[in-house]
Point group: C2
Chain length 296, copies 2
């Protein structure tokens, strides 16, 4: 049993806050455009006060826990990365207090011999899936695939899938032949193309050369790029972690549909949880871990 | 023995012209910023006249042969792609006459079951290498690897290496932590990273996460990206065509140095020819093939 909690998901482009009762039920919520990239240095406390001041006043005992890029270098304060294995307990112990009642959940760093990788915000979502042993996939601008063992994150890998899609779809030569409305069957062509060993920078050019060669209509270009990049992500994740897991997918909307299609085409079994639910359950789990014996 | 020739390499961003004698020796040359992307529709003849009018007047019999993007959709006139196998003879037969004395060398299309690929301008360089059987590598914004058999191009693959580098180095989140002057040893780190099966969109993120994890300095980011993308190109080309060829590299300057380093790290034997020499020899070869019996 925990006390009331104010949960803040403060990312680069958006501020989301939830007022939760002791059982984790959402009593109130709000969403605003005050992403941390819009907040000047020293201005974070004021933004929090503006959005959550009334809640904080109404229940002076409710701690405010924040996760996301708010704990990054250019955020409210830099919450140093926690190392793997990272559990709700280890993160709770490492939380950074920025005021008497406001704390930030740190991100996580994985130090694999193939190079360091980092996440900030996704750790909270991962714990919210309640996966004890398995593979968690969190699609996005920088998708994350995390391996969870005995309830702790032991390794993870980032894929710049969303950002790469945006760069090529909007700012590369490939954008010139892309037309709308889109033909979504191009997505399957992209998934198939991701299997070609010639590699991504070759398969990306196919989005142009197939159109010039009258093998693909311009309406398929966007969906082809989507299928290619998501397909490449799934292929890479399975190479790294093996493909015999039940994948827990943290996604909703169109993105969830696309990842489900990609994972199913690889014969994967999967479960889905919405990012909002994963965030709320994750933050509550970390809050509960903090309330326990503080020694790790 | 051929007559004097005016050779024009008219690409997207640059106009280069050479006055060649019957033995292929360069009598005169010029270079201007009138790339075809700067020329309005219908304005091409005037640009040619401005730059080469004096040469054309001095020798009214010298044909003007042009290669490059000038034969593309938005160029002087669209020279339809020739198909594989493409030889100097087949291209000579397919040249597009735009005026009485001016002709454009067509590009080439490869129709592989893995999808169509296209080139425009590189076919001329490939014939200039005089490779009869082998693999030709032409680095660039859109690098090409071509398989030549019995003097004809039978297949090729494009890699968006240069464009991908520019997009990520200048317009992605990866640019934020990159600093200068660059530490070129990062190139070898990138080459090594290209071997990692997790894939390109993961290895690209390493350019950020290794810096955040204090494993790599910001000065290495640019060179790391270069090594990663060139390494991925070489890996992909070898997967597609096999790795037991002598590679003929059409490149000069810094780009040649980087590709030589990448190819040598894969144990490849290679020969190098400068793009200018390949262009001149290639155009002369095509011109000579046109002068022969016109039937294929």
């Amino acid at each position: 049993m925990t006390s009331e909690l104010i949960a803040v998901d403060w990312g680069t482009s958006r501020f989301r806050a939830f007022r939760l009762d002791g059982a984790g039920k959402v009593l109130d919520r709000l969403s605003a455009e005050d992403g941390m990239s819009t907040v000047p240095a020293g201005g974070f406390a004021a933004v929090l006060e503006r959005h959550c001041g009334a809640w904080m006043k109404a229940n002076p005992k409710a701690p405010v826990l924040m996760a996301g890029m708010v704990g990054a270098r250019n955020g409210w304060a830099e919450a140093a990365y926690s190392t793997c294995p990272a559990s709700p307990k280890s993160l709770a112990n490492a939380m950074l207090k920025v005021t008497d009642r406001v704390s930030i959940v740190p991100g996580v760093i994985a130090r694999d011999k193939s190079g360091a990788d980092v996440m900030r915000g996704e750790e909270t979502l991962i714990f919210g899936t309640e996966v004890k042993n398995g593979l968690v996939c969190l699609p996005g601008t920088h998708s994350k695939w995390a391996r969870v063992e005995e309830g702790a994150i032991t390794d993870f890998a980032t894929f710049m899938t969303g950002e790469t899609y945006a760069l090529f779809r909007q700012q590369s030569l490939l954008s010139r032949l892309a037309t709308e409305p889109e033909d979504l069957t191009g997505f399957d062509d992209g998934l198939e193309a991701a299997k070609d060993g010639t590699g991504l920078t070759n398969r990306l050019f196919q989005a142009r050369s197939r159109v010039l060669g009258d093998e693909m209509a311009g309406e398929k270009v966007g969906p082809y790029l989507s299928g290619l990049l998501i397909g490449a992500e799934v292929e890479g994740a399975f190479k790294r972690y093996g493909s015999n897991h039940v994948i827990t997918l943290v996604a909703d909307g169109v993105l969830a549909q696309r990842y489900v299609a990609a994972l199913r085409s690889h014969g994967a079994s999967l479960e889905i949880i919405s990012p909002e639910r994963a965030f709320l359950e994750g933050l509550a789990t970390i809050a509960a871990a903090r309330s326990q014996d503080p020694t790790p």
